[in-house]
């Protein structure tokens, strides 16, 4: 079974939403409400100290384990390090998929995310963030669907 890691800068917004779509915690036919987003585990909750932690979100219908990861700007280095070290212990690094969700992040998500996480102004940041996610939702959905297909076909 594969391990699928959605990663973005902070690991608490776009990657959580992507992982949640993957795990059917969010709808595929409509844009979710603000409450649905805020009720997601770890959504807008992780801080600087959590960066780098690979956080387990759930197991999908095919038995793949799904994670989110905040990797700041060190995505490539983390991918090489994780795959390299796993290989040293005799595991197959090809069964770990890293999916970058940063391309789906828009201006509102950046601003809202920074206000909420970096400056601790969640009351101001969250509405902007949620507006941004709603706008980006179909892009995130598309990203997940494309990659979910990949993991289904080349999973184990």
């Amino acid at each position: 079974m594969a391990k699928i890691i959605y990663h973005c800068y902070g690991g608490t917004h776009s990657s959580i939403v992507a992982a949640a779509i993957h795990l059917n915690l969010l709808p595929e036919d409509r844009i979710p409400t603000g409450d649905e987003l805020l009720n997601l585990p770890f959504f807008d909750k992780l801080n600087k100290e959590d960066h780098g932690k690979i956080i387990y979100m759930g197991t999908d219908d095919f038995g793949n384990r799904v994670y989110s990861l905040g990797r700041r700007n060190a995505g490539n280095i983390i991918i090489r390090a994780v795959k390299g070290v796993i290989k040293l212990f005799g595991f197959d690094s090809k069964s770990i998929y890293f999916i970058d969700t940063m391309p789906t992040v828009n201006f509102y998500m950046c601003i809202g995310g920074i206000l909420s996480r970096k400056f601790g102004l969640s009351s101001v940041g969250r509405p902007i963030l949620i507006y941004g996610i709603k706008r980006a939702y179909y892009n995130i959905l598309k990203l997940v669907k494309t990659n979910r297909f990949l993991s289904e076909t080349s999973g184990d």
């Binding site: 390090a81 390299g84 796993i86």
Partner: protein, 154 residues
Amino acid sequence: MKVFYHCYGSAHSSVVAASIHLGLLPSDRIPTAEEFVKLPLYDKTDSYKIGYPFYIGTDNKGIDVFVIGMLNQEKIVVNALNSILTEYGLDPKLCLMVETLKLVNITTRVGGFLSRRLKLVSVGRPLTIYGIQKNYKKFIYLVEKVKAKLDNIL
């Protein structure tokens, strides 16, 4: 048990510390410039390989010694490695992470930037060596501490 000496680009300080650990560099005197250049990975790692762990050797106690580059993001890379090891049912304590970036002085930093980033090897490499030679005793001390720690664990 595996030891990972980590620094910015896995080209200089981590290679030197790993080499002292394995006896490829002396622990009783400051090595000459040729001795550094002869090391298999010294001043060689390209930017696009940073992050990948490189095997340097196995010491007399059977501990595998690696170098790994983490830029200046060692906290998040170490977090990621610890969580993936746990996910695979391994104890993160099987990997000892040793930071060597703190032993890098400005001379080595400038030399490393010239040699690795700007590809001015002929200017940069001697500078990195000069900088490490000046700090070499600290490297010896660091490796001694690491070995003592490993003896306690084993």
